[in-house]
């Protein structure tokens, strides 16, 4: 090598070295920005979870009051429990507890300390075990939501009487219960087993949960096979022409359409034209299917496109038919991506209330749905409805419902990850 050449190489190295510092600085900057971004989003997440949990955890407990209930033969109609005066049993028990209370107004105040749910509880007890009639038992019944708020520290005990939901007299009664250990907080089973109620202490998430499961199950059962079939057809079989381009553009547009539009469509088509039952998971599932289909199709097509063409050639070259090529080679490779797209679509469907509004699923529904055609709500709807209720005790229940929704999401996403890892056999 000549001297001149040596000079040149040295110069190259020098130039490279000079630029090096700048290049590394750029890299460090990028890393820093990335780190900041992650820290910010994580802290928002922590903040969100923190507030929701701190507001909502208390809803998993409920205040109960111990009453000595005499299942009076005279007040219970053994053959027709609906005709019995269980309210009278509760009132009698309260009267024995506080014999000094007299006068209509005071008695009303006193009886207001236990939930109306106490009546339904006694009714249930008797219908499952008629042997109780004629006996006297100690029964823990739910307290009224105002009492519950007081026991949980969400309501004041001091200050002017008019500023409080419970007056001095009621506080004195509660104080007596506290002294005698007849009032306690225990796990709020009703929250996980019952449907909606206008009494916060009786309201539960189970109805909405079942509604969500039914709706999403239908959505998944329809949108996954249809979406995947559509994407496979478009990607592998459809001829390349104007019409298919038009379909493609429309699918992309549909993915961006506001979800309420799908609700309007569902109202017009499924309810008004096909006369499917309003408020039912059936219609909800169909509407959410329409909404999630574009997402699933787009994600599935992207994952089909990412399968290397050499695999397709290998299969075709050996004499596989197109269908065999897709089923045996392309689909297994594209499936993880398709699952991811489906999960994204389902997660979106899970959080949706707007389209459900139009088809009547934003409704007060107490009974637990037991089929695809009985009226139902969904978890986000329940959150929305509770957030809008005037009773103070619904605040913590709203947060608790959000927690349940988040838990649902986490379970769904973990399931997706597990499924994906199952399928994703990277060779």
């Amino acid at each position: 090598m000549s001297d001149i050449d040596m000079d040149k190489t040295n110069k190259t190295i020098d130039t490279v070295k000079r630029g090096l510092a700048r290049r590394y600085a750029a890299e460090r900057r990028f890393r820093l920005f990335g780190l900041i971004a992650i820290v910010i989003s994580l802290s928002f997440l922590v903040l969100l979870f923190g507030t929701v949990i701190s507001k909502g955890y208390s809803a998993f407990q409920q205040t109960f009051v111990q009453l000595e209930v005499t299942f009076d033969r005279a007040m219970i109609d053994r053959d027709n429990p609906a005709n019995s005066d269980f309210g009278g049993l509760v009132k009698a028990a309260m009267g024995r507890e506080f014999p000094e209370v007299s006068g209509r107004k005071d008695k009303r105040k006193l009886n207001g300390l236990v939930s109306t749910g106490a009546v339904y509880q006694l009714q249930d007890m008797v219908s499952t075990d008629p042997g109780l009639i004629g006996t006297t038992n100690l029964v823990w019944v739910p307290a009224d939501d105002d009492v519950d708020m007081l026991m949980k520290g969400h309501a004041k005990r001091t200050g002017a009487e008019s500023d409080r939901r419970l007056d001095d007299q009621q506080l004195a009664w509660i104080g007596k219960w506290e002294q005698e250990g007849k009032i306690r907080k225990q796990f709020n089973r009703a929250f996980f087993t019952s449907g909606d109620s206008r009494e916060p202490e009786l309201a539960g998430i189970w109805g909405a949960f079942v509604g969500t499961i039914l709706t999403l199950a239908l959505t998944l059962a329809l949108s996954f096979p249809i979406g995947i079939s559509a994407s496979i057809y478009l990607e592998e079989f459809a001829p390349r022409n104007r019409f298919v381009d038009l379909v493609e553009v429309n699918i992309n547009n549909l993915a961006a359409v506001p979800s309420i539009v799908f609700g309007l469509l569902g109202l017009a088509v499924f309810i008004n034209f096909f006369h499917l039952p309003r408020s039912s998971p059936l219609v909800g599932g169909l509407v959410l299917t329409l909404m999630t289909l574009p997402t699933i199709i787009i994600a599935s097509r992207a994952s089909l496109q990412s399968v290397p063409p050499s695999i397709r050639e290998a299969a075709l070259g050996i004499g596989a038919s197109k269908m065999q090529m897709v089923n045996h080679h392309v689909l297994p490779l594209a499936l993880p991506g398709m699952l991811t797209g489906t999960i994204i679509g389902m997660a979106r469907a899970l959080g949706e209330t707007a389209p459900l509004l139009m088809i009547g699923m934003v409704a007060f529904i107490v009974d637990i749905p037991d089929s695809f055609v009985t009226p139902a709500t969904a978890l986000p709807v329940q959150i929305f409805l509770w957030a809008d209720s005037p009773e103070r005790a619904f605040v913590e229940r709203t947060s608790a419902a959000i927690l349940v929704l988040l838990a649902f999401l986490v379970v769904m996403n973990s399931l997706a990850v597990i499924l994906r890892n199952r399928f994703e056999r990277r060779w």
């Binding site: 008019s162 939901r165 408020s279 529904i365 005037p390 605040v395």
Partner: protein
Amino acid sequence: MFKRGVIVAGACLLVAMGGVGLAQARDYISIVGSSTVYPFATVVAEKFGRISSFKTPAIEATGSGGGLKLFCGGVGVQYPDITNSSRRIKASEVKNCNDNGVKQIVEIKIGYDGIVLANSKKTVPLNISRKELFLALAKNIPDPKGSEMVIPNPYKTWHDINPALPDNAIEVLGPPPTSGTRDAFMELVMEDGGKEFPWIKALGKKDKNAFKQICHSMREDGAFIEAGENDNLIVQKLEVNPKAFGIFGFSYLDQNSDKLQGTLVDGEEPTFEAIADGKYPVSRPLFFYVKKAHVGMIPGIKEFLNEFTSEKAWGDEGYLTDKGLIPMPKAERVKFRNDAGSLNNLSL
């Protein structure tokens, strides 16, 4: 894999179509309508569902107008049986009902609701007239110099309107135009307040549109803020900002009496009693309407009416009063219970 998918999808579609057959029968009452009546109707529905052998009615809050539209859609299981309304049905709506075959409608008034202006207990309560409220909240107000013209609202503080009022900036959170509460506030406060000016009152008789233009246009300069449908949100904002006022139904004031106080309107405090005997001026009747053709077709409608109109529900000490419903006088209750019992037809 693929084939299986197609089969599953096909099966689901079949199930869906099977739903068409099932739609022929509905064994629960379907109720739609006003979000103001919703809290009361739901309580009755829940009680009814728990103590009777019938299913619990499903209730949607669609707004009064939306509810009546659905209700008047026709006769048949896909249409609701009952609609709640925070105002009386209009003649045009009755006609729409008739055109769609809904010929017989039973009207039940259930009680009254007060609309309150409230603020945080941390400050003093306000005592204000409807005229002053109009002057505080209308986008354009009559020229203070006396000519029959409107000028853009110049008032910045309550004090500007009436020296007796506090020297705080006007800041009122209210419901959006889609809400029934907003409608009622417009009618009972803004219109009545505007009518205090004789020439506006005269205009109301002459040119309804021009009148509405003046009375129904709320300020857009930040003194009136649309806070969304969620009344709880307004309550929370009032706690944070003691100088602000909020407009909502009486039940929210009732439930938050430890934090909020009601503004005295025309010298009357919004209390249960004052609304019940009509002293408090900003109150409105609440109704629901029943489709007579569905009685007998959908199980439980008669029994539901019986529960709703019973004294233990809507009476002076009924459970609906616990939820903030302001009961009607005894005579009215008897009349409407009778209407419900014999399914008397609505007469406008």
